[in-house]
Symmetry: D2
Subunit: 241 residues, 4 copies
Amino acid sequence: MSTATRVTVWNEYRHEKLHAEIKEVYPEGIHQAIAKPLADKGFAVRTATLDEPSHGLTDDVLESTDVLIWWGHMAHHEVDDAIVEKVVARVWDGMGLIVLHSGHFSKVFKRLMGTSCDLKWREANDSERLWVVDPGHPIASGLGEYIELANEEMYGEHFDIPTPDEIVFVSWFTGGEVFRSGCTYHRGRGRVFYFRPGHESFPTYHQADIQKVIANAVNWASPNHGPKPVYGNAKPLEGVK
Amino acid sequence: MSTATRVTVWNEYRHEKLHAEIKEVYPEGIHQAIAKPLADKGFAVRTATLDEPSHGLTDDVLESTDVLIWWGHMAHHEVDDAIVEKVVARVWDGMGLIVLHSGHFSKVFKRLMGTSCDLKWREANDSERLWVVDPGHPIASGLGEYIELANEEMYGEHFDIPTPDEIVFVSWFTGGEVFRSGCTYHRGRGRVFYFRPGHESFPTYHQADIQKVIANAVNWASPNHGPKPVYGNAKPLEGVK
Amino acid sequence: MSTATRVTVWNEYRHEKLHAEIKEVYPEGIHQAIAKPLADKGFAVRTATLDEPSHGLTDDVLESTDVLIWWGHMAHHEVDDAIVEKVVARVWDGMGLIVLHSGHFSKVFKRLMGTSCDLKWREANDSERLWVVDPGHPIASGLGEYIELANEEMYGEHFDIPTPDEIVFVSWFTGGEVFRSGCTYHRGRGRVFYFRPGHESFPTYHQADIQKVIANAVNWASPNHGPKPVYGNAKPLEGVK
Amino acid sequence: MSTATRVTVWNEYRHEKLHAEIKEVYPEGIHQAIAKPLADKGFAVRTATLDEPSHGLTDDVLESTDVLIWWGHMAHHEVDDAIVEKVVARVWDGMGLIVLHSGHFSKVFKRLMGTSCDLKWREANDSERLWVVDPGHPIASGLGEYIELANEEMYGEHFDIPTPDEIVFVSWFTGGEVFRSGCTYHRGRGRVFYFRPGHESFPTYHQADIQKVIANAVNWASPNHGPKPVYGNAKPLEGVK
C-alpha cells in the first residue's frame, strides 16, 4: 500500500498486569500481540490502553486513526463516557472499528449496536472451529475453510446483536453451541467488524490465521472516503411550487 | 383476531396544544387520529402523552403493550432517560415499536439504532410518493404500487440509520430527493418499523392508505413469542473433556 | 383463522416405495407425515407427488395453493422443466414456498436461488442441534432455544446459497460442522423458506417441534396480497419536459 | 496496484452499428467508452462483443478475467446458453460481475438472480439523480452526495430483483419514479454489482463520476481469494459415535 493504513490497537491491559497466568500468555499485553503482526504486514500501528491519560485516545489519536481495534473485559465500566462518545462519533465519520471477543460488552460496541450484546459463555476446555460461511468476503481472503482453535472460551447463541449486515464466520464448540463469530455492520460512514476469538488465557492472537483475519478486517474497515453527508434544512434541487 | 393486539399510541402532544394551525388539522391530537382507525380495525388501543405522569408509560402500561407507536418532535429532550430505557428493554423483550416521522430523532429510536439518525428536511410544498419496493412484505398488504401525499415535509437522504433489515418503501419528493421511508429492524426479540410520513401540519394520518400501513405494521410488529434467550454462564450440552 | 391457508405438500415419494427401511419410518410417505399435523392445526392441506400426472401440480392446483412445501431427493432430474417454471412463476406471483432438506438440490430451489446450492453431507450417526439465532422471528414462535434431533444426516458449510434475507436457525453437528439451517428469501411477491432437517431414514417429521416450525413457516410464507407490480413502458406521473 | 486487475468489458455492440444516432454518441462502441477510462486508471482491460466467436468469451478469456462488465439490450436472446453457464460458473468461482443498465434483462443476470428482473421504463426527457444511500461503501468512494444525469432513460420500481445484499444508490426521476440503482449481491465466491445508468442514446459513460463508480465497482468486485469450498461427502472432524 502506498500510504499505510493507520491502526490503533486499544487494550484494557489489566488481566496481563494482575494475573500471572495471563501475563505468561501475553507478556507485553494483548495489544502488543495484536499490533506486531500488523506492523509486520506494513500497517502503521500504535497502541493505547485504559490507564493512559484519556485511555490513550486523545482527539489527536482518534483523528489520525483509520481503524481502531478494541479489546476489553474486566473494566468496561471504567471507560469514560465522553471518550466512548468520541469513538462513536469517529466511527460515524468513517473510522473503522474492530471489536474483539469480550469487547462485545464494551460501552462502545453496545452504544453502536443498540442491543444488550449479551450471550452465553463458558470457560472450560472447549475447542472452537470457525467456519467461513461467506467465502467471497474480503475478510476471508487467504483462509482455509475453517479456523481451528484448540482451546477457547465458549460463546454461544443467542448473541443479542442486531441482524448483521454480513456474517463471515460461524463457530462450532465442543460443548454443543454455535455462534455468529464474524459479523459486519455499517454505522454512518464507518464500518464495524465483530470477531469472536481471543480469551485472555489462551494464545489465540499468536495464531497466524487469526492474525490474518484481523489484517483482512483492517483492510476491509479502512475509510472509503465516500461523500460526507450534509444534514439539516435543504433547499430544493428541483422547482417546488 | 381472537385476542386483540394491544396497541399504545404515544404522542408528544405539544404542537396540537400550542399552535392553532396544527390543532385545526389534529383537534384531538395526533395520537387520537392514529388510535381511532386502529380501534375501528379491532385493535385494543390506548394512548399516552408526554405530559402525563411517567409520560403515560408506567411499568403496567408497558408490560401490557404489544406494540408501541411513537410520535415526537419538539420535545424529544423532555423524555425521561429512565423511561427511554424501560421502553428499550421492552422492545428487547419482544414489544413491537413503530416510530413515525420526526420520531427519527427521538431518544428511543436513536438508542435502538446506534447512529445519529440525522437527515435532510424541508418544510415547503413538496409532494411525496412512497413506492412499494417489497411487494411481498406484510406491511405492503392491500396497498397499490405507491402512496401519494399531496403535501408533506421533505425528508431526504442521506438518512443516517443502520442498514435496514428490510426496506418496504422508498419516497420520491418534488424537490429532487429520495428517502428510505419504510424500514424494519430486529432488536432482541422485538421488531421496529420506521415509517416516514406524518408532519404535524398536514392531514397525513387522516389518509386511509397511511392508516392501512400503520395497521399492517402493528400486525407485523406484534410479539412472536419466540424463545426467551438465556444468557450468561452455560453448562455444556455435550461432553467437554 | 377465518379462511384456512391452502397448503400443498409435494413429495417425490420414491424412497418410501423403493426402500423397506424408509417405508418403515414413513409408511404413508413423507408428504402424509408433513400434511397430517398441518391439517390438525386447521390448514387446508393437499398432497402431490412426482408420479402423478403433471407431478400433481396442475395449473388448477398451483393457482389454488397459498403455500407449497417441497421434498425431493433421488429424482430431482425427473421433475419436468415446464412444471418447474410454473412453480417459479407462482412464487414470483406470491405463493409461499417451503423447501425441505434435500430439496436444496431441487430444480425449483436452484432456479430461484441462482447458485449451485451445494453443501457438505454425511450419513452417519450425527446428532443435530438447531439453535434459534433470531428469537423475534415468527418462524421461531413457541420454540425453545434449540431443537434437538438425536439422529440426522449432516449438512455442513459452506452452503452455496445467496446471502439469506434472514437466518432463523444455525445447526450444530456432532462431527464438527455448522449449517445455516433456516433461511428466508423474497422472490417477487413470494417468500421462500429453506429448512434443513428431514432425511428420509430418520423420523424427523414425526417430531412436534419440527412440525411447529413447518406450521410457523406456512403462516409466515402465506401470500400477503401486496400490490401486483406493473412492468414495462410507463407514462410519467409528473410533468416531464 | 502491484498486479493490475484484469477487466473484460463485454458489449452487445449492435445499436452502435445499426443506428446512426447511437454511433454518434459511442463511435467506437459502448465497450470502448467503458474500457478507456479503466485502462487510464491502470486496470488491464480487454473488450469482447456478441458477434465475435464465442461472443469473445472463450474459456481462456473467462479464466483470465477478474471482473467482467456486461452491457446488452436488443440481442439478449442471441447470447448462447452454454456461454451463459460458463459466465455463471466463473462468477460462482470468484469472478466479479458488473451488470449495466439494460443488462438487467440479460440471461446472465436473470440466471444469477432467480427473479424476472422486470421493471418500469420510459424513453423520454427525464433527468436522473442517483443519491448515495451508503456513504461508507467502497463503491461510493470519492463521490459527492449524488450523481446527476441531465438525460437518461427512466427505470422505475418495482424492480423485480432479490433483496440486495447492499443498496448503494437510489435514483430520483423527473417523472415521479424512484429506483434502486446500485445493488450488490454475493453468488458463490463471486460478487455482482448492478448499476442502472447507461442508455445507449445518452453520453452517460462519458461522464467522469459514472466512470468513477465503475472503477470503484471493479475494485470492489475483484476476487478475494477466499477459501474454495469443498462440497459433497465429508468425513467427520470430531468423533461421531
